[in-house]
Amino acid sequence: MYQFDSRSQWLSPVQSESNVVPFPLQQKAPDCDAGEISQDLEVAGESQVAEVSSDRQLQLTIANLLKYGVILATATVFIGAVLYLIRHGAEPADYHIFRGEPSMFCSPAGVMSAVLSGSRRAIIQLGLLILIATPVLRVIFSLITFLRQRDFTYVIVTSVVLSGLLYSLIGAYFRFQ
């Protein structure tokens, strides 16, 4: 990956054209602590106090949401995988010819009822659904945050993204059945 190597490369243009970089360079490495936020605020101005800290809050929540979503999905897939391989491991594998999945694996409701009826492949599919739902939840959560902040530009932006996702997850199912 790219390395931000030479420090002089960064500093010289900044010093010569101070209007280009509105934020003065800070001495310590930035972290999520309160000191850094308050340093930012001195430059950014009092009016943005609430916004900077709530954006930081949104960042942390989104980061955790994604992390735990992937962990939960992976764990579910893994459990399903072990159960599936114990029962079906010796059968021949065949993905050479496309047949399409049975319709119960093609919708969230179908997968849930297949899990309840004891299908082991359905447990894996449930894990995959949790995985697909993770970014969707992230968008829903962002939408709620922007609504609370009364940031209506981003309420519209996230609403459009969310309707696209919902169309794909729900609309496509009805369209193709």
């Binding site: 990956m1 931000f4 420090r7 960064w10 500093l11 243009p13 509105p22 934020f23 360079l25 001495q27 310590k28 490495a29 930035p30 999520c32 960042q59 989104i62 980061a63 955790n64 994604l66 992390k67 979503g69 992937v70 992976t74 897939v77 399903g80 995988a81 599936y84 391989l85 079906h88 491991g89 010796a90 021949p92 594998a93 993905y95 496309f98 399409g100 999945e101 049975p102 319709s103 694996f105 093609c106 894996i124 599919q125 995959l128 659904l129 995985l131 697909i132 993770t134 970014p135 992230r138 981003y154 459009v160 993204v161 696209g164 169309y167 794909s168 997850l169 496509a172 369209r175 193709f176």
Partner: protein, 279 residues
């Protein structure tokens, strides 16, 4: 081949793909589809479904760390997701009625192009004297990112061009089940002139939502097979996480060259097989 053997082999292949994808910055998805089709003889539609699922997993897994470090520009990512989501749904809908041959040829071209892009030198960092774009300011897309010398601020340029390229990235992602990270990074690096770390991490952040948008269509069409997606996902994710750890301080130049040659070879084999009635 029994299901157990098949699962273990696909798991090992996916682990390697995830590892190399993270090390070279090309992403695992771009290797998974040709690996499954040309090495394991899997139908390309099952391969696309499985790849898409693994792309969501690696994106979400890596995004978490990048967001906490402050590299990812969340507002920019969310704004551009409008373009990639719409593109991804269009791409997935096209994929459901286009022939397998056409899909294979498009994928071959995208693979070759990715291999070529990975050989290009990184663009220099810019210090711009242009006045801020009023639309960008209105959307509050400009940001800062951390370096060893403290936070550096940057401006977003050519938003309309970047937005259009993102629609295209979305279509390709939806059509082929890959993250199309290289195209996203290209749009943000070259058109919008963002710092490299900001474009790679923001691209990674957007990939999850883009892939989820087409995953719904693929799920409904029966392309997502649990038995095949399981080893792919369980292999790519730890492979990518390990690759990201090793990446720090690793010299990747030689690896990039080898990897893009492998990619090109797989692309040719896949297109050749498809055009000669193989697979």
């Amino acid at each position: 081949m029994s299901i157990l053997e098949f699962t273990l082999l696909v798991w090992m292949g996916s682990f390697t793909a995830g590892f190399l994808g993270a090390l070279t910055g090309l992403g695992g998805g771009v290797v998974i589809v040709p690996l499954l089709t040309s090495v394991f003889g899997v139908d390309i539609r099952y391969a696309i479904g499985a790849s898409l699922v693994s792309v969501i997993a690696t994106s979400a897994g890596a995004a978490s760390a990048y967001i906490k470090k402050g590299y990812t520009n969340l507002r920019l990512g969310m704004f551009l997701e409008v373009a990639t989501t719409v593109g991804a749904i269009i791409g997935a809908l096209i994929a459901t009625f286009v022939s397998v041959k056409a899909l294979t040829v498009v994928l071959g071209i995208v693979l070759l192009y990715s291999a070529y892009l990975s050989q290009q030198p990184r663009p220099d960092e810019y210090f711009d004297s242009e006045p801020p774009d009023p639309l960008v300011a209105q959307l509050r897309l400009n940001g800062t990112y951390p370096t060893a010398d403290g936070a550096i601020s940057y401006q977003v340029h050519s938003l309309p061009v970047g937005f259009s390229l993102m629609v295209l990235a979305g279509v390709i992602s939806g059509l082929l089940g890959i993250g199309s990270g290289s195209l996203k990074v290209l749009a943000m690096d070259q058109a919008m002139r963002l710092p490299f770390k900001v474009s790679t991490t923001t691209s990674n952040f957007m990939i999850g939502v883009t892939a989820a948008a087409s995953a719904g269509v693929y799920l409904a069409r029966g392309y997502i097979d649990p038995g095949l997606s399981m080893p792919v996902m369980l292999g790519v994710v730890p492979g990518a996480l390990l690759g990201a750890k090793v990446l720090v301080g690793a010299r990747t130049q030689v690896l990039r060259v080898i990897f893009s040659l492998v990619l090109a070879a797989m692309a040719f084999k896949m297109v050749y097989n498809s055009l000669h009635g193989g697979i």
